[in-house]
Symmetry: C2
Subunit: 127 residues, 2 copies
C-alpha cells in the first residue's frame, strides 16, 4: 500500500510544459546532468535549472550535486501516482460505458422492463 501521496497539482503542472516533458523523456532513458539536459533544448542553463527546480518540487525527479555537476533522475513513484490517478478515472468511464451498453442491449430486447423513466435517463449513475 502506497502511503506517500504526491501533490498532483504540482505534478500535472510540471508535466504541462513541453520543455519539462522533454527533460522527463530524456531522464526516462537514464540519469543526466543539468548541462546534458540543456543541450537538445534551445534554452539557457538558467532556464533549464528553473525547469529542473519545478520538476524536483513536484517530486517527478530527484537531483544530487557532486562537485560542480548536478545529476538528475526520475522518481518512478510519483510518475506512477500520476498515471494511476488518470488510469482509475479512465477505467471507471470505460466500465460505465460497458454497463450502459449492456443496459441498452437489455432494454432493446425487453422495452417494457424499465418502469421508472428516471432509470432510462441516467443508467450510468446507478451503482
Amino acid at each position: 500500500m502506497l502511503h506517500y501521496a504526491p501533490d498532483l497539482d504540482r505534478v500535472f503542472q510540471a508535466l504541462a510544459d513541453p520543455g519539462r516533458r522533454h527533460m522527463v523523456e530524456r531522464l526516462s532513458r537514464g540519469p543526466a546532468s543539468v548541462s546534458e539536459l540543456s543541450k537538445p533544448l534551445n534554452m539557457s542553463l538558467t532556464a533549464v535549472l528553473q525547469h529542473v527546480q519545478v520538476l524536483e518540487a513536484s517530486g517527478l525527479i530527484r537531483s544530487s550535486k557532486l562537485g560542480r555537476t548536478r545529476t538528475c533522475s526520475i522518481n518512478t513513484t510519483v510518475l506512477r501516482s500520476a498515471e494511476g490517478w488518470i488510469a482509475e478515472r479512465r477505467t471507471m468511464v470505460e466500465r460505465n460505458l460497458d454497463r450502459l451498453g449492456d443496459y441498452l442491449a437489455e432494454t432493446a430486447d425487453r422495452p417494457d422492463t424499465a418502469a421508472d423513466p428516471e432509470d432510462r435517463q441516467r443508467p450510468m449513475e446507478k451503482p
Copy 2:
C-alpha cells in the same frame, strides 16, 4: 493506430487544478450538467463554467446544450493519451532500472569484465 494527438500542454494544465480534477472524478461516474458539477464544489456557477471551458479546450471533456442545460461527459481518448504518455516514460525507467540491476549483478560476479571505466559509470545510457 491513433492519429489524433491531443495537446498535452493543455491536458496536463487542465488536470493541475484540484477543482477540475474533482469534476473529472465526478464525470468518470457518468455525464453531468454544469449545475450538478458545481454542487459539491464551493464555487460559483461562473467559476465552474470557466473550469468546464478549460477542460473542454483540453479535449478531456465534451459538452452539449439542450435547452438551458449544458451536459458534460469525459472523452476517454484524451484521458488515455495522457495516461499513455506517462506510462511510456515510467515503463522506460523501470526497464532501465532492471537493466542496471542485471548489469550490477553481472559485474559483481565478474569484476574484470568492464575494461572501460565509462561503461561502469553510465550503463543505463547504453542501448
